[in-house]
């Protein structure tokens, strides 16, 4: 069944998407749906040498259908090209304990699930574009490090690593950022996927250091909608699952102030990052993944 606009996986809300299948399948569907959308858009620009044919899949660019093969076999084949690698990208995924949290576990996937899906989808897009992609997962230390490579196998490895990533520990992205800064010899793209419940100044310093080394940096701030609003109960003790810090507060009395504090914190991230040339996007886990992919695409466009 052809994908219609309303059924494109990249536009589905994450709760619905989460019911469709595993990470690899979902990422592929999301990317293909996303690329199908791009098909109608003016954004083009891949250049590659022909390598092989493969079966057509929904979302494939119709320009690359081999009509001769269609005439001979009555089946659609798409021409595969030997892609030129023009970008070295590295995904930095926060797998701290806070990322495993969901404000509505019955309805909304955890932030980590959302971030994994975004990472897988971005990886697929990057690899299909002929870029190399690396992956680092971290909490207060680096858990997984996968060097940037291209090709379908790399993507399968990335998906495998993402599937295996278990949440835990506290969020300290600066170690991962500095590790990448020392390891990436060529300038590339660094994508940080985190809920940014971190030490602000240290993280900013590490991100600016990356930028200073000439890397393009994209920060995708994953937020659960339940973090924007206090829970509806009034008389509770809140504790941080990472630090076990506790705060007694009457939520009903401070709800408005809390909302303002979250907005101010997000604005502050934006004000701190954008002037340094660091792209910053907020990803609400109840919003479609296409927003994340679009953010990447805009960045990629500027990179040329």
């Amino acid at each position: 069944m052809p994908l219609t606009h309303s059924r494109r996986p990249d536009l589905l809300d994450p709760p619905t998407l989460a019911r469709l299948g595993g990470l690899e399948l979902l990422a592929r569907q999301v990317v293909e749906g996303f690329l199908m959308g791009l098909h109608r858009s003016p954004h083009r620009g891949f250049s590659a040498e022909f390598a092989e044919l493969r079966n057509y899949q929904p979302g494939d660019d119709l320009r690359y259908i081999d009509w001769r093969m269609y005439a001979r076999s009555d089946r659609f084949f798409v021409k595969q090209f030997e892609e030129e690698t023009n970008l070295r990208a590295h995904l930095l995924l926060d797998i701290s304990a806070s990322m495993a949290w969901s404000s509505r576990p019955d309805e909304l996937p955890p932030k980590l699930w959302y971030a994994k899906l975004v990472a897988a989808a971005l990886s697929l897009v990057l690899i299909r574009q002929g870029d190399t992609v690396g992956l680092t997962t971290f909490h207060d230390e680096i858990v997984t490090r996968l060097q940037a490579r291209g090709g379908p196998r790399q993507w399968a490895e990335i998906v495998h690593r993402l599937d295996a990533a278990e949440p835990g520990g506290r969020t300290r992205p600066q170690a991962g950022l500095r590790d990448i800064a020392t390891r990436l010899r060529r300038r590339g793209l660094v994508v940080l996927l985190s809920d940014l419940l971190v030490d602000r100044e240290e993280t900013l310093t590490a991100l600016r250091f990356l930028r200073h080394r000439g890397h393009e940096v994209l920060v995708l701030h994953v937020i659960d909608p339940g973090e924007r609003e206090l829970p509806p109960a009034a008389d509770v003790r809140f504790f941080d699952p990472e630090s076990d810090e506790e705060l007694r507060i009457n939520a009903a009395d401070v709800r408005e102030d809390y909302r303002a504090a979250v907005t101010e914190a997000i604005d502050e991230w934006r004000r701190s990052l954008v002037p340094d040339g660091i792209d910053y996007h907020v990803l609400d886990t109840d919003r479609p993944l296409a927003l994340a992919l679009r953010a990447y695409l805009r960045k990629r466009e500027r990179l040329g």
Binding site: P231, D235, V236, F239, A252, E256, D257
Partner: protein
């Protein structure tokens, strides 16, 4: 402010119960995982002061809301002047005793008290009834009055020279209220509250009819007490004047006048005036006594006056003396009167205070050892010293009865005792009497000396001769008593002798009952007002200090000096905290005119405040909601329970 439905105040407690239960049984707050805690910390850091202020405001608003609802449920009323009250029976005790004549500023204490009484009456409702009990006029009967008549009674009230017993006045007021049948009663006590006027209240014996005890009534009438005139000040006064050592002055002989100045304050001038002429003067400190020589005087009535320099309370700055200057009485001795009595009589004879007389012509017959004349000359007095042998006493009693004196000398002999009260003025109190038969009055007469065991040792009774028969309870020898060697022996013998030679001036005070002879038709006050004598032969309305005249038509029968009561001169205000105990009734104090107006008519109902209170509660509720909403964007209906949160965020 007042409360019409005190039970409504329980609402406040009722509201507190669930709050307390909630606090007592509140489980540990639910612990909920929330990774974005740093945003909360940030919010706390940025808005801590604002949050605290809002929370304080919310607490205040919620408490105010509960308070307003409680006050509304309790039907709070605003007391104010002019507000109506249910019909009330009011006894106004207006203290016009001597101390109320003290000058304070431009007026007297009584003027202030009358002003408060007028305020009471001006707030009267149409159904109110008033009794005006004047504290200094204990003899007055009181009747219920309408407010207008009560105003007139208050206006015509003047200071009298008597002393007030406010405790008795309150008891009397309670009795009036109890008998009035009024559903609601109040007592308004207007006084300068001198401690001497407020003795502890005596409880009536069980089953005593009459006076109602406030403590035993279900709802004792409140006593609203004016405490705004309590300020005391030093007051000097003439406490006592003793003429001739307590003995009547004798014609042609000089005497001495001892003046005791009471109270406190500065040195005062003391003057003795006889018939308006200055007889002597001296200066003295209050608390001291001075002696002024006087005389000699001619035979006849003597009226003298001692005065000191005036102070704020002037009525007690003078003391009046009324006595008779008489020749020494003639005394005859019958029987074996004993060495001590004989020596005393000899001494008085040598001093010219008595004269020897004959059995038929003597003023006084002193009879001892059971020897008694069979008859007495007209006006002749008899003094009887009983025989030592108890067996002879019944015969003596029969002889006395034959002379008209209903006095019995018992044959039994009692044990020893001490003199408890000596009204002869001889100072025998404390003197031991070893063996005593005692004296029993069987008819009209008077006990003069009483022992601690209640035995009467000396008594007198009228005789048919027109004189008086004085009987002692034991012989005057050392076997029976220590009186013969006591300092009071000679004064006692002179007092005995003086039966026939005039009497020492008595001590009577304004307010005492004046007993008059059956011939009296009128009594004239010192200011010249004549009062007819009624059939009781008693006159109680002795309101003025001065010389009172007892008249039979236009004939002067007797003149009596009444002085101000010394206790009334002790200007020591009582501690208001003692009032409930002294008065035996619930007390409401008022020290200013405004408080007086606000506190009288305790059942007065002002405007009820439940409407404005509910309105204010509604406003408080709106403000509370607005303030609470400013910190919470989630409507209450969207709020989940803590259990919901825990389920969602395990």
């Amino acid at each position: 402010m007042g409360i019409l439905a005190p039970a409504g105040l329980l609402l406040g407690l009722a509201i507190a119960v669930p709050v307390l239960l909630h606090l007592l049984h509140r489980p540990q707050r639910d612990r909920v995982a929330f990774p974005a805690l740093q945003y909360l910390f940030r919010m706390e850091r940025d808005h801590a002061r604002q949050i605290r202020m809002r929370q304080s405001l919310l607490l205040a608003l919620r408490l105010a809301l509960l308070l307003l609802l409680t006050l509304a449920a309790a039907r709070t009323v605003l007391r104010g002047t002019g507000a109506a009250h249910p019909p009330t029976a009011v006894v106004v005790i207006l203290d016009n005793s001597m101390s109320a004549g003290r000058v304070v500023g431009d007026g007297r204490v009584l003027d202030t008290l009358k002003a408060r009484a007028r305020e009471t009456l001006e707030l009267a409702g149409p159904g109110d009834r008033f009794w005006i009990v004047r504290g200094g006029n204990a003899w007055e009967t009181v009747t219920p009055l309408a407010a207008r008549a009560a105003l007139t009674r208050v206006a015509e009230t003047e200071v009298v020279d008597t002393r007030a017993d406010l405790t008795a006045a309150v008891a009397r007021a309670e009795e009036i209220l109890a008998r009035s049948g009024a559903a609601r009663g109040e007592i308004h006590l207007l006084s300068d509250l001198q401690a001497s006027a407020l003795p502890p209240r005596a409880r009536p014996a069980a089953g005593t009819p009459g006076l109602a005890d406030a403590a035993t009534r279900d709802t004792p009438a409140p006593v609203v007490v004016w405490t705004g005139s309590r300020a005391g000040e030093p007051n000097g006064f003439v406490r006592d004047v003793v003429l001739g050592g307590g003995l009547p002055p004798r014609a042609g002989r000089r005497t001495e006048v001892a003046v005791i100045i009471g109270g406190e304050g500065e040195e005062r001038g003391v003057r003795l005036l006889v018939a308006g002429r200055l007889e002597g003067a001296v200066r003295s400190q209050p608390g001291a006594s001075v002696v002024l020589p006087a005389g000699p005087f001619t035979e006849g009535p003597l009226e003298a006056e001692v005065e000191i320099d005036p102070d704020a309370l002037r009525a007690d700055d003078r003391f009046l003396i009324r006595t008779d200057v008489v020749p020494p009485p003639s005394v005859v001795r019958l029987g074996a009167i004993g060495d001590f009595l004989a020596a005393a009589l000899d001494l008085l004879e040598e001093g010219g205070r008595i004269r020897p007389g004959t059995p038929t012509g003597a003023d006084v017959v002193v009879a001892a050892d059971g020897v008694v004349p069979s008859a007495l000359a007209p006006g002749q007095h008899l003094v009887v010293v009983p025989p030592a042998d108890p067996a002879r006493r019944p015969a003596l009693s029969r002889q006395l009865a034959a002379l008209g004196a209903a006095i019995e000398i018992p044959a039994t002999r009692a044990g020893g005792s001490r003199v408890a009260a000596d009204e002869t003025g001889s100072g025998l109190e404390g003197t031991t009497v070893h063996r005593v038969g005692g004296v029993v009055l069987r008819g009209p007469g008077r006990a003069w000396v009483t022992l601690e065991d209640g035995t009467v040792w000396a008594a007198s009774a009228p005789a048919t001769s027109g004189g008086e028969i004085v009987v002692l309870g034991s012989p005057l020898d050392l076997e029976h008593s220590e009186i013969p060697i006591a300092a009071g022996m000679v004064p006692l013998v002179e007092w005995i002798s003086a039966r026939g030679g005039g009497t020492a001036p008595g001590r009577m005070h304004a307010g005492d009952t004046l007993r008059v002879s059956s011939r009296a038709t009128a009594i004239e006050s010192p200011s010249g007002t004549r009062h007819p004598v009624d059939g009781t032969l008693e006159f109680r309305a002795t309101r003025e200090a001065g010389i009172w005249s007892v008249l039979a038509g236009d004939t002067l029968l007797e003149r009596v000096a009444l002085n101000t009561p010394p206790r009334e001169s002790l200007l020591q205000p009582i501690d208001p905290s003692l009032l409930p105990v002294r008065l035996g009734a619930p007390v409401i104090e008022a020290a200013t005119a405004n408080r007086w107006r606000a506190r009288i008519f305790t059942a007065r109902r002002g405007r009820e405040l439940w409407r404005p209170l509910l309105f204010l509660a509604f406003v408080a509720l709106l403000v509370e909601s607005w303030v609470a909403a400013s910190g919470s964007a989630t409507p209450p209906s969207d709020r989940a329970t803590a259990d919901d949160i825990r389920a969602r965020h395990p």
